[in-house]
């Protein structure tokens, strides 16, 4: 069953004095429970696409549907509720709150959620139970990204959107984060959409969308996704 559908998405930016066409007639759909990787080089428009899917940005034209409901017609209040209840974000630079502990960062999200998951379970799931009272400055990049994932998942969203989640991490840590995301996908039945410029990561996806210059140039299903441990870069 389709959980997310994008129809002819177009996005134009004004960057200072320059106009940038970030997305050109982009259409695709994502099935419920899929692990989708959007692959593309820097500037290909993948982050813009993710932001539009997550209700963080609106397209210049085109539509996005969550199941049958068009989210691109939402007003600001509805978009806030959409982000709050349906979407979990994981960012490249973690973006966790510097003046909150690991646990508090997760609580920050669960406090506004309709149906949050137990915080203790989440901290165990991301293997941060012992580090729950540490502040970000006392944690490694990998640990911070785990907090970020815990924060995103604890809200119990249907879809997890991950923007280069391993981009700032070393190989080992990156692999552990990917494993965690796969676990969330399989065990918690969350749809995961991950964007990356690293082609090797695409090997673990159920589906891959390749982007270049604001367009999807390839959309294929991976018949034999690799396990995370098999990925090397």
């Amino acid at each position: 069953m389709k959980i997310l559908t994008a129809e002819k998405i177009q996005k134009t930016f004004q960057m200072g004095e320059v106009q940038v066409n970030a997305l050109i007639d982009t259409s695709f759909s994502v099935e419920e429970g899929e692990f989708v990787v959007i692959l593309g080089p820097s500037g290909s428009g993948k982050s813009t696409l993710l932001n539009i899917l997550g209700g963080m940005d609106t397209p210049t034209s085109g539509k996005v549907f969550l199941r049958d409901v068009e989210i691109t017609s939402y007003d600001e209040k509805e978009l806030t509720l959409y982000r709050r209840n349906n979407i979990g974000f994981v960012f490249q630079f973690y973006n966790i709150m510097a003046n909150l502990t690991a646990r508090e960062n997760v609580e920050l999200a669960t406090e506004i959620s309709r149906d949050p998951l137990p915080i203790d379970d989440m901290l165990h799931a991301v293997d941060l139970w012992d580090r729950q009272d540490h502040f970000p400055s006392q944690m490694s990049g990998g640990e911070q990204q785990r907090v970020s994932i815990a924060r995103a998942v604890a809200k119990n969203p249907e879809i997890l959107l991950c923007d280069e989640p391993t981009g700032a991490l070393d190989y080992e840590t990156g692999i552990s984060i990917l494993a965690l995301l796969k676990k969330v996908n399989l065990e918690m039945k969350k749809t995961v959409i991950l964007i990356t410029h690293n082609a090797d990561i695409a090997l673990m996806a159920d589906r891959v969308l390749k982007m270049r210059s604001g367009e999807i140039i390839e959309d294929f299903t991976n018949p034999n996704p690799l396990s995370v441990e098999e990925i090397k870069w």
Partner: protein, 787 residues
């Protein structure tokens, strides 16, 4: 803490992280609100204490002076409709004899009745009020304190040429002598040289040679009585007993000065704190504006998680709200404590023995509300940028600002000669106009306030010098007990060695114009007087006209009079009709308010020809006081030096209250400059880090910022000159009273001192810059995506 929402935990930690700035804002708010609460409560407490004092001691509505009326007349007057109560008494002028033959101590001796419902009763301060013996006396407290007189002491007084030794049985306070002044001429209390005694009726009638009579009628009006109609009735009734003057409660010297003091307090209570709150609000606006810019990413993430724009905005407004509530609450409580202390201080200063100190929760509520509202509004304005940040935009770097040429680049000759580092300094200043503007405004405001406060002491000194050397030039001002023939001037030259002498007429009159009236002193001077140098407001000399009157500027303003207007002069001399005369000029006068007339014209119009009430003289005679003290008809001998000393003492009190303002201004100035500098630094962390990577040393970066700040400092000082001058002018007008008239033009030294103080404040703030640059973690800053 356990149940606190995490967004509020973030707020709390945000406050803790910026605690020095938060405390600086709190200090401003607390100062403003405590002054607001304290002064308002003091004003109310003072007024209610005074009202209670007046009620308890039956302070009359009218004081009617006459040459003498029979005792039983009081009963008849009491039956006049509108009169609630009356008391007759005797008031005599006298002198106290001291060990120093040169010292003149004037006394007002009043009879006191043992009757329980009599008016204007005393409050016992020490000893007893029971006057058993005819020679027992009660001494007014402030005079007793000033002269060290205690119960059981004996004092020798002289009344009508006869000396009496009296037994002091107690010291008392009286509502008619809260602000104890000899007469309208003195305008300032001098407790050591003038006092009041309360004696038995028997003694007063004997010493005043008024057996079975009184010479003053005190009247308490019944509620809902028309004061003017009653006053006319009473004056008609007393006319036959040689009515001298009627003073109603509003014009009673002591009462009117007190009311003026309370009004000043009220004005200060409303204007000063508002300035503090506006400054706190501006700082909050600037801080939050900067915070929102700095926290762009954080705001984006919060919105991405699902927080609404409103809740994120409220998170930042919470910072301002916390400052407002905390500052308002602490300020109100501090103000409440301060109010009790200040009221006691004021009551003691004014010798009001009745304390009615209450806590007015309304002002505490108002203080908190005012502070909270101003902070919320500032918070919303400062943090409104939150609403504009779209979460996706926050995830992207800011587009670089469009580069622009700055104004001074058009001056190519100058620009090309500038060193590269100086070009950077200039570009930095002009690049962020808002930021530079705030530092500039902060320095300008600090300098302006410093200029104003430094002008105060200089102006007071200038005012004294001007009045006692340039305006008034006599060495001695001698007043006779009764008007005498002008030939007395020549008699005086036989009494003392005189360098120069002139007769004068000096009388209080009620001057009215339209529906406004004011009681002031009118001086009759020789046309070519050498003892006064009168000038108009432009500084041009003004000579005494043959006819008409000159008025001091403050008197003319109070009555809404312009040159050429006609005024009515109401005399207090018995049997005199009101007269009209034309205002021929308005003159500058810094102390007191008066009118000036040609002595001959004044004699003709208001008194009798060839009469004088005193003389001005210059003399090198060392024994002048000793010689004149024996002269029976001399009421007072005042040297310019002594007059100045009285003013000096009074001004000391005023300087004390100005001192508070100086401290407050300092706090305010420092807080502005400190916060502006810190915000400026925080917003440029990335820029400085990039410079460090390029190879600039910490000291080179510091020197560059120093240059920027110094240029803004100079600009701020220049901008502060008109601000301070306007502020001084406004404050001069606001602080001027009937007693002194400030024309606050800042002096050269005020400019110098203000510049030094401002430089000190900015330099202290520069230490923060230095510390920041020295502790700059440039790698850390560059790693962060937030700048």
């Amino acid at each position: 803490m356990v149940n606190m929402k995490k967004i509020n935990t973030m707020l709390l930690r945000m406050i803790l992280q910026s605690k020095s700035q938060f405390i600086a804002i709190l200090v401003i708010i607390i100062t403003g609100i405590s002054v607001f609460t304290a002064m308002n409560m003091v004003a109310i407490n003072m007024q209610s204490s005074l009202d209670l004092y007046y009620a308890q001691n039956s302070f009359p509505h009218f004081f009617i002076e006459s040459t003498g009326f029979p005792e039983n007349e009081t009963k008849k007057i009491k039956s006049i409709p509108g009169v609630e109560n009356v008391t007759g008494r005797i008031t005599l002028e006298g002198r106290m004899l001291t060990e120093d033959p040169n010292e003149r101590v004037n006394l007002r001796i009043k009879s006191t009745s043992s009757n329980e419902d009599s008016l204007c009763t005393n409050t016992l301060m020490e000893g007893t009020m029971n006057l058993k013996d005819i020679k027992d006396v009660l001494v007014i407290d402030q005079f007793a304190k000033a002269r060290g007189i205690k119960p059981k002491d004996k004092i020798t007084i002289q009344v009508g040429g006869l000396q009496y030794t009296l037994n002091v049985v107690g010291t008392v306070a009286n509502p008619e002598n809260v602000y104890m002044m000899e007469n309208a001429q003195s305008l300032l209390p001098d407790s050591k040289s003038f006092g009041a005694l309360y004696v038995t009726e028997t003694f007063a009638q004997w010493a005043g040679n008024l057996p079975g009579s009184y010479n003053e009628l005190l009247v308490k009006m019944a509620p809902d009585t028309d004061a003017d109609i009653l006053k006319d009735k009473l004056e008609d009734r007393m006319e036959v007993y040689g009515l001298k003057q009627t003073i109603d409660r509003e014009n009673h010297l002591s009462n009117s000065v007190l009311i003026a003091e309370f009004t000043n307090l009220d004005t200060m209570a409303d204007s000063l704190p508002l300035l503090f709150l506006i400054v706190a609000g501006l700082i909050l606006m600037m801080m939050l504006g900067r915070m929102v810019k700095r926290d762009r990413m954080k705001i984006g993430v919060l919105k991405a998680i699902g927080y609404s724009s409103k809740s994120v905005l409220l998170h930042y407004v919470g910072y301002a709200l916390t400052a407002g509530v905390l500052g308002g609450l602490t300020g109100s409580l501090a103000g409440m404590a301060l109010a009790g202390w200040m009221t006691r201080f004021y009551l003691e200063f004014f010798h009001i023995p009745v304390f009615n100190i209450e806590v007015y929760f309304y002002y505490i509520f108002l203080g908190i509300t005012l502070s909270t509202l101003i902070c919320i509004v500032s918070g919303i304005i400062g943090a409104r940028g939150v609403l504009r940040i779209a979460p996706a935009d926050a995830m992207r770097s800011d587009a670089p600002k469009a580069g622009k040429r700055i104004l001074i680049q058009d001056f190519t000759k100058f620009w090309t000669k500038l060193a590269f580092s100086n070009k950077m300094v200039a570009k930095n200043i002009f690049r962020n106009k808002k930021r530079s503007g705030f530092v500039l405004a902060g320095v300008a405001l600090t300098f302006g306030m410093m200029l104003f406060t430094n002008s105060m002491s200089g102006v007071i000194d200038q005012l004294m010098n001007k009045h006692f050397t340039e305006f008034q030039k006599m060495e001695y001002n001698i007043t006779f007990q009764k008007p005498v023939d002008s030939s007395t001037v020549y008699d005086m030259t036989y009494l003392v060695d005189v360098d120069a002498i002139e007769g004068k007429i000096e009388y209080p009159f009620t001057i009215s114009h339209g529906n406004k009236e004011k009681t002031a002193l009118i001086l009759g001077l020789k046309r070519d007087t050498q003892f006064y140098e009168l000038q108009d407001s432009d500084g041009n000399p003004v000579s005494i006209p043959n006819k008409g009157i000159l008025l001091s500027k403050n008197l003319a303003s109070a009555l809404g009079i312009e040159k050429g207007d006609s005024v009515r002069l109401k005399s207090f001399i018995p049997g005199r009709e009101d007269v009209y005369t034309q205002v021929r000029g308005i003159i500058k006068q810094s102390l007191g308010m008066s009118g000036y007339m040609n002595i001959d014209y004044m004699g003709d119009l208001l008194l009798e020809q060839n009469l004088i009430t005193g003389v001005f003289l210059d003399s090198q005679d060392d024994k002048l006081n000793e010689k004149l003290i024996k002269a029976p008809n001399i009421s007072s001998v005042m040297s310019s030096e002594a007059s100045r000393a009285v003013y000096d003492e009074y001004m000391t009190m005023m300087i004390l209250s100005i001192g508070f303002m100086v401290v407050f201004s300092g706090i305010l100035g420092f807080a502005i400059v400190y916060n502006a500098t810190i915000v400026n630094l925080n917003s440029r962390e990335m820029e400085f880090s990039s410079m460090r990577v390029l190879g600039f040393t910490r000291n080179e970066i510091f020197r560059m910022i120093l240059k920027e700040n110094n240029i803004l400092l100079i600009g701020g000082i220049l901008l502060g000159i008109p601000i301070g001058t306007i502020f001084a002018g406004y404050s001069g007008a606001a602080l001027s009273t009937d007693i002194y008239n400030f024309e606050m033009t800042p002096t050269f030294w005020a400019f110098i001192l203000s510049t030094i103080y401002t430089i000190i404040f900015v330099t202290i703030a520069q230490f923060a810059t230095y510390r920041k640059v020295q502790s700059l973690d440039f790698l850390g800053a560059l790693k962060s995506r937030e700048s």
